[in-house]
Amino acid sequence: MSLRLRIVTPERVLADTEVSELTAPGIAGEFGVLPEHVTFLGGLDTGVLSYTDANGDKHELVVSGGYAEVVDDTVTVLADSAQPAGEIDAEVAARDRDQAQAILDDPAADTAATEAALLALKLAETRLGVS
């Protein structure tokens, strides 16, 4: 038994492969998917999505926002952005984190900017965590 996993972002298809299990960061907490999972649609938070492919190798990706759908042992992840752990540039992530932190520290920043910075900070820190 295996699952088919498709990870799709607006810019490209990142993965289309057979996996044995996967763990994703849901809005309502992290969830795992195994074969014969119930038909499911959930929102994704910023976090690490990991899966084990047919060869037993573990893969990690940083996703930010989006949806995961499970139908008939096919998992479709629609992510706003997704980056495999191997592609993460720690320097870029650190710079993003510092930028976001600067906005958060700035008392003059408006609500929208602060919210965006919070998201950016979380994403950068998650990226740093896996790289």
Binding site: P10, G42, Y67, T76
Partner: protein
Amino acid sequence: MANLKDIRKRISSVRSTQQITRAMKMVSAAKLRRAEDQVAASRPYSEKLQSLLANLANRVEASSHPFLGEGSDAPVHVLLITSDRGLCGAYNTNLSKAAEAFMASEQGEGASLTVCGRRGNDYFKNRSDRVLTAHVNVPGGVSLELAREVSAEAARLFTEGDAGSVYLVYSEFKSAMTQIVRTRQILPIDRGEASSQQDGDGVSAEGDDEATDYLFEPGAEVLLAGLLPRYLETTVYQAMLEGAASEHGARMTAMDSATRNAGEMMDALTLQMNKARQATITGELMEIIAGAEALNG
């Protein structure tokens, strides 16, 4: 009759123009291929999003989200997508004219306008004072960030009631030779459209009753509220990508015919030059012969 030197000068100037147009054609061909790849790469996402949306939208009341409502009587807002650079045939003119015609129609009365691309902005700058925002010479060209910004702006106008509905004017990419100008309503989102497109590709997804047994986390309405702005973004993003592909296609075609025209012109000028040369030689010979005849006589 133009003298030899003038013709030679013109030939060499036509030749250097031809070199430029030929180079531009090559560049456009390469860019076109990349743009086409981008359009193809973004398609799986938008198709999946559309099927999710169709699935969710049928489950909730239309009143649960403003994007699904009826819109209001406020004037429409037009989102026009053109290119920053010219020399691509009638591409930008066609788009700008289509937007202008739409705004002049009964439906588009009092419409406001958002322009992406310098060319479209140049067109409307002196013709209309209804341009609200222009995104001109955006570094990096088409990007998801730009699409997000533009669609968020349109969504804001719509939800705050400044716009009764939002239309997108863009160019659909068919082939390098054909681009079709499309005017399409993007807000409010037409639920019928979302579900009918689902029927086209979603036999497996909707084939049985399983689709009704979704477990939603969090609830369907919360998910839908996040999905609708993303759907809007993706629609705008795809229109921009199609626009970019159309632009390069149009430029390639335009530069191809320019290269050909330059070739024809060079042929015609060469013929003219040869004739002129011949005429000079004949003239000189006549003079020599006449001179010799005069001496003999």
